[in-house]
């Protein structure tokens, strides 16, 4: 087994930035995201003996992060994304349609945290259904269902954007 400090260093180098970006999109604030990721690594260190290597370090870290985000939203329910965040300009592919999204921020702000989580993990982190199920500790069919609903809501919000978001097909 590696020395814990070496391992922690490697994990922070490999996953720190991605975890922070994910947290930032989820909570809408860079400083809170930074704090949450720090807490995630500290929690990992404290509970490292409970890690049974049944999942990858990445999955385990994301699971801890999701729990911290959940706790954050228990304290602070409202969600407003930092204005400088996520000025996405491109086409988002849905199952049977695609849509031009100029700004995802408003659409994401309207989604509930449970739906936002799956959207972010699926599109932003490009995780597979199995991985998302493991991170969120729900079944694969649960992920598929949430993802389907989340996509529909996202599509509706983007489509309602009118001038900002233009339908392609």
């Amino acid at each position: 087994m590696k020395d814990i400090k070496v391992l922690m260093n490697e994990l922070m180098n490999d996953h720190g930035d991605y975890l922070k970006r994910t947290a930032a999109v989820m909570v809408g604030d860079y400083q809170i995201a930074e704090d949450l990721v720090q807490e995630t690594f500290m929690s990992f260190y404290k509970n490292r003996l409970q890690f049974k290597h049944q999942s990858s370090y990445k999955t385990y870290l994301y699971r801890i992060l999701m729990n911290h985000i959940k706790m954050h939203f228990r304290k602070k329910r409202d969600y407003t994304m930092d204005p400088s965040m996520l000025l996405y300009h491109g086409i988002i592919e849905f199952e049977d349609r695609s849509i031009m999204a100029i700004d995802l921020r408003q659409a994401l702000e309207k989604l509930k945290p449970d739906y936002r989580n799956v959207i972010v993990l699926y599109f932003f982190n490009e995780m597979k259904i199995e991985e998302i199920a493991s991170v969120l500790d729900i079944t694969k069919s649960g992920v598929k269902m949430r993802l389907k609903r989340a996509k529909e809501m996202l599509y509706d919000h983007l489509n309602k954007g009118g001038k900002q978001n233009e339908k392609v097909e």
Partner: protein, 91 residues
């Protein structure tokens, strides 16, 4: 969706030093012998509960069988009666 991730490339995790400081302070804390032992082993000591229960049950069964097989249910007894002359006779 690549652009989404790319749009945030300048966002970096800056809290590495704080986490390392936290680890250092935790590592320097006084720990019990058991915690030190766990750290050396670097994994939890797992007690295989089903196996322990099964072995315990087998032992219990063997001990109880032994005690039952050795037990002699017969025991001596006497009876005292009064005969026709009013004397006590013990058999």
């Amino acid at each position: 969706m690549k652009k989404w991730n790319e749009a945030m490339e300048d966002i970096r995790f800056d809290g590495k030093n704080q986490v390392m400081q936290f680890i250092d302070s935790e590592e320097n804390k006084r720990r019990s012998i058991f915690e030190k032992l766990l750290t050396i082993l670097d994994h939890e000591i797992e007690i295989p509960l089903p196996s322990v229960v099964a072995i315990g049950l087998v032992f219990l069964l063997v001990i109880s069988l032994q005690s039952f097989s050795n037990r002699d249910d017969s025991y001596e007894y006497t009876i005292t009666v009064v005969n026709q002359w009013g004397q006590y006779e013990t058999y």
